[in-house]
């Protein structure tokens, strides 16, 4: 502050009151500036039309036993498989096997018949094979990631290869017997 313009009669009390006023005003101004920044930041979050697609409903009706479909949810492939009796029992039998990530098959499904998983290899993000009948299903009869050779079993659990985790099960809910909502 400039000493030259400070008039001699201004008392300490005056200065104190002035400093408080300046400080309070600066604080209010700072709050205003911060609330201006928030809309700019929030505009980079997912927009309404993206959020509207963050849940999808899938009709399971047309899927036969032993068939799989892939649906897109939040830009990612979701594997939905109607498993055969053989696949289910193989998966349950392996609950006790030496698993890299221990999960019971019953914890990975809501109804044993239906397996719903995000179809992205937990290693480096490739999409495993095994959805189509003609594709290789790996050594454990589930899915096989061709990028670096990860093998998943009929419950989508990692059994062999570099991937660290089982295929992720998204949040989903049965709306009725034949349809689910993912998200």
């Amino acid at each position: 502050m400039s000493e030259a313009t400070q008039s001699p009669e201004s008392t300490e009390d005056d200065v104190g009151r002035r400093d408080f006023l300046v400080l309070a005003t600066a604080a209010v101004g700072a709050v205003g500036a911060a609330s201006f920044v928030w809309p700019l930041v929030d505009s980079m979050n997912p927009s309404a039309e993206v959020l509207a697609l963050s849940k999808i409903e899938v009709d399971l009706g047309p899927i036969e036993e032993g068939q799989s479909i892939t649906v897109v949810w939040q830009g990612k492939p979701v594997f939905i498989r109607r498993r055969t009796k053989v696949e289910i029992s193989a998966a349950v039998k392996d609950d006790g096997a030496d698993l890299r990530q221990k999960e019971k098959d019953a914890d990975r499904t809501q109804k044993p018949e239906w397996l719903v998983m995000i179809g992205i290899c937990t290693h480096l993000g490739c999409i495993p094979l095994g959805q189509k009948a003609v594709e290789t299903k790996g050594e454990y009869g589930g899915w096989f990631c061709p990028c670096h050779g990860s093998h998943y079993d009929t419950s989508g659990r990692i059994r062999k290869g570099p991937a660290p985790l089982n295929l992720e099960v998204p949040k989903y809910k049965f709306l009725d017997d034949k349809s689910i909502r993912i998200g």
């Binding site: 009151r17 002035r18 006023l21 300046v22 005003t25 209010v28 101004g29 205003g32 309404a48 509207a52």
Partner: protein
Amino acid sequence: MRKTVIGVAAAVLITISGQAMASGGIELPKQHWSFEGIFGTYDRGEAQRGLQVYSEVCAGCHGLSLIYYRNLMGLGYTKDQVKAFAAEYEVEDGPNDEGEMYMRPAKPSDRFVNPFPNDKAARAGNNGALPPDLSLVVEARVGGPNYLYNLMAGYVEPPAGVSVMEGMSYNAYYPGHQIAMPSPLSDEAVEYADGTKATVAQMARDVTTFLTWASEPNMEERKGMGIKVLLFLIVLTGMLIAVKKKIWADVH
């Protein structure tokens, strides 16, 4: 200099508002609207009835392509109501695994279904005239809601000596008066669920409120925030003036 400047500022505003009225040239009788003024909100009853008028009358020719069904929740409908409303319409989706496009019921995340697949089809179905999309019609016309209301209610017999071309209708408020759209509204054209009597004036009002909402669905958010921002700025400016006075107090 200060007074002169205030005078000049007033002149600017007059000039600019004069400019806003420049086009058109037909005087539009003013209606009172619920969404006017800094505290204005959309009358939900009017807007919901307006949706009914749009769906049953306008939607045959006019799209509303910028609106999603989910937006209707902003008009006070519940999620399930919106879902049911959307499911009445079919949208094309696909291709499916066989590579074919297929029709499915619309979902809240879909846009309002267009009545025509493209502009050419729309012209072909309307004697060569293109029914404009209504998503922004209130913002895209001089006079906004007043124009729309008067247009809807402005179908009258042509004055003596004016001949109306084949396929055109006479409208008191349409620029040039000859409009390709035949009078869309007639008394009891829709049956309101809430028992409101469906006069032409009532339907014109309702559909105008609905389409004003469609033009700017977040107007209420804008005005609400604006009041807070203005109050904040007034307080801040008051404090700034006090600070300035204190600081300058000892300058002679």
